[in-house]
Each structure stands twice: as C-alpha cells, then as structure tokens.
Amino acid sequence: MIRLNRLSFAYGGRTPLFADFSLVVGKGEAWTVIGPSGCGKSTLLFLIAGLTAASGGEVSINGERVVRARPSTGLVLQDHGLLPWATVRDNTRLGLTIRRFYGPDGKHSPAGQGADPARGEKLVQYWLDWLGIAHLQEMYPAQLSRGQRQRAALARTLVLEPDLLLMDEPFSALDAPIREDLQKVMNAFHRESGLTSLTVTHDIEEAMVLGEKILVLASGCNRQPLVVTNHLFAGGVRREDDDYVRLCGRLRELLSSTDGSRG
C-alpha cells in the first residue's frame, strides 16, 4: 500500500531526519509511529500525505508516486482543524463541498467519481451517527468539547471514504477517559473497515492500542526502520495483561536507547 523508497529529508541546513529510509506498509494494516519529539514522526506523516516534499527518494501509494496531497488519503491532525464559522454538519460536509467545487478532476478529488449529493448527505449522516455526534450537528465547534471536536474532524475525513487514514497525535490534547473512548472507537473502526492507517503518537500505550505494527523513530537521522510487531493487537489490548506490560517496557527501553543516540 505505502512504499517509502530510499527516502531522505532534512529541514533547511539541519541534520537530516531521514536518509535512505525504506519501509513498506501493507494494505489493511494499522501502524503507529512513536518516537521522541523532534524525531520526525509528524514529518514522516506529512511526507506520506504529500503535504511535504522529500529531498530524496520517493513515497508511493498503490504504486503511484505521491507528489501532492492525494484525494483519497484522509488526514486528521491534533488540532481538529474545523472551520469555526461552520456548523458541525457543514464541517463534516466540507470535503464533499470541495470535491463538488472542483469536480472529479483526479487532482483535488478522485477521478471518475461523480458527485452524488444524495449519497454524500447519507454518508455525512452515517458518520455523524457512527461517531455519536449527530445530535450536535447544528452546533459550532466552539460549543463542543475537545473530544466532540475530534470526532467531528474524524467524521469529516471518513465521509470522503479514504483508502488510507493518517493521524497526527489525534488524541493527545484530550483527557485520559475521553482519549481511551476515542481509541476504542478507532479500534472498532479498524476492525469494521480494515482501512490502512498510520497514527503518530508520543504515547506508548496509544501506540500499543492503535497499532499492530509500531515504528520506533530515533532522534537524529533515521536510516533503518525499527519495527515492533504488536501481537496483542489482534486479540484486543488489555492494559492489565502481563504481555502488555512486557511489550510496553520493551518499547520504553527502545525509546530511551534511541533518544541516547542524539548526535
């Protein structure tokens, strides 16, 4: 699904974050990316999203090289990014509105997928219901709690029926109980949809809950991907499990050792 081929990237004049970095993410897999702050985990996500250009190598999705934001990649950021002047429903509809604005040109919206307003409205309603925010649809983002805003941001992305979901610290700003709720929602979503997803987080527990494969990035230059397989993912992660505690410990160790390699 996603293939990073000898990817290199550096912010102007600084030590590169990635050099000759290659990675393959299979279709239907749920990945999380974890690492100390400044290690390039968000950058990696933006490179895959096509919002940042690599300085060397390439990103390809389904065999096609990513050169700009791909219409069927969904992206959810830590800051929900909802328009403050639009209601929840209008916000959820925004992607469809933009697609209708351009027409199916293949660049801003998937080619050959004509706009069917009735179907679009059904999808909007479906995801608002599914995420439990249908009763809030006439409200403005400022009237919602953080968790509800993040649900609206998810609805807005899922309405576009993405084939790849990228999330950058989606639940980091939320209180623990609401965060766990949303993690459960995302788990259920993954089981239902089998959508390929990649979630950036700095939280070890979140990495365990949301990822069957966990990519550990180091501060400094990343050359070889360090991937931990989370065998607990399939059976549903239980936080009191011995295996869970052991794997958490291992991740913590990996993180502190990579943090030490800062040069």
């Binding site: 934001a69 969904g74 950021l77 800051d79 002047w85 639009a86 409200m139 400022a142």
Partner: protein
C-alpha cells in the same frame, strides 16, 4: 460571545434620546437648542426635498469610500496575515501609519486629486483602509497552519482555500473593522464637506444653516448626519448577525 441589540432596546434608546433632547431644550431655553417637536417635523419634510439630496450625497460618499477601502484593504490584509515574512517587512510602516489621524492630509489630497468628490472619498477610504487592513491581517494570521493543512488534505487547492477558508474568515473581520470605523468616517465626512462642495450634510449644516443662524434647519442636518451614522452602524450589525452567526451563539 457578542451581545445582539434587540428591537426593543433600540426603541428604548431612541425614546430616551428624544426625551433627553426635549428636557435639554426646556432647560436651556435658547434658540441654539430647539425642541425636537419643532425639528422632527421639519426634518421629515426636508428629507422629502432638499435635505434628502444632501443626505444622499453624503451617503454616496461614505458608501463608495467603504467599497474602495474594502476592495484594497481586505486582500492586502489577507496576504499580510498569511505571509509572515511580508508582514515583518511592512508591519513597522503600518504600525506608524495606523495611529496618524489621516484627516491632516486633507489639504494634500485636495491639491493632488483636485477639488472633487474623488478627494473627499479618497480621504475617508484611507481612514477605513487602515482599520480593515489591521483587523483582517490579525484575523488571517490567527488562522492556524493546522487548519489550512487539514483543509488542504480534504483536497482544497488555492481556489477552494480562498472560497472556503480565507473569504469566510475575513468577512467578519471586515465587518468588525467597519463597525468600528464607520463613526470616524462620518466625522471626517462632516469636516471634508464643509468646504469646496455644494452638496452634502456637512455643507448643509455649516454653510447653509449654521452660518446664517437657521438653528432649527441646522438641527435637521445634524439629525440627517446622525441618522446616517446610525443606519450604517445598524446595517453592518445586521450583516454581521447573518454572516458571523458562530460569534453570537452560546
């Protein structure tokens, strides 16, 4: 959250205004403050004739100045707000120019643009221009990069960003700026109209009535100018209520 004026509160304000005026007229009891009972009927009569023309001339000047200012200031404010580097470059200049009372350039503008409506309109437009520029710039710079990025990730290119983000974000800012500056605009109009024209409420108040001691007629002019200010303010408020609904909820 802003407070919206209601029909009732507006009415109450109007009643109190005329009561105070009447009270003042009774207390002072001199020709310089005639009673509203005398002025209001004259005003209504005047608006159907000569005074109405002066009113329209003034209104046309303010409205065209508003239009010109919006056309120039809104895009520039958006650009400055979204391009921090450009803003750092011209920001200091704007910070100096913004507080200077632009009316002191009245003679310069008269000489440069000639004795015409254009010079009066330009002067007012310059005043409103800076107000809009600063408010729209601040609004545009408060649009978080994350918001732009996530709208981009929904497929928006430059045109869709403009239509669905920049335009709706700057419209409330333009209205806020107008609401604040429209009073100044009418004040400057009053001064600009006192000379070198034969139409406009400023001219009517100072040249046609005040200088020939026609005090009640002068008050019809004052009422006209006051009404112009109030109408503009309420019109902007009404548009704001429609456009910026999200600011009035909760």
């Amino acid at each position: 959250m802003k407070k919206r004026p209601t029909m009732l509160s507006t009415l109450a304000g109007g009643v109190m205004f005329f009561l105070l005026w009447q009270l003042g007229a009774l207390c002072i009891d001199r020709p310089i403050l005639p009673s509203p009972l005398q002025v209001v009927p004259m005003f209504l009569q005047g608006m159907a004739g000569e005074l109405g023309l002066h009113f329209l001339a003034s209104a046309a000047r303010v409205l065209s100045a508003v239009a010109i200012a919006v056309v120039f200031a809104a895009p520039l404010g958006l650009a400055l707000g979204q391009m921090p580097r450009l803003d750092r470059l011209v920001g200091p200049l704007i910070a100096i120019l913004y507080p200077i009372p632009k009316i002191i350039f009245l003679p310069v503008i008269y000489v440069l643009l000639g004795i015409s409506d254009l010079s009066k309109v330009t002067l007012i437009a310059i005043i409103i221009f800076f107000q809009i520029l600063v408010v729209v710039r601040d609004e545009a710079s408060s649009l978080k990069p994350e918001l732009i990025l996530s709208v981009k990730s929904l497929g928006a290119g430059r045109r869709a960003l403009f239509r669905y983000v920049y335009l709706p974000a700057s419209l409330p800012a333009v209205l806020t700026a107008l609401r604040v500056s429209v009073g100044t605009a009418v004040a400057v109009l009053f001064i600009a109209e006192q000379s070198l024209t034969n139409y406009g409420l400023g001219y009517y108040i100072v040249v046609e009535t005040y200088q020939v001691l026609l005090y009640p007629e002068m008050y019809t002019g004052i009422m006209g100018m006051g009404l112009l200010g109030v109408l503009l303010y309420f019109a902007i408020n009404a548009i704001e209520l429609r456009v910026s609904r999200h600011l009035f909820v909760g």
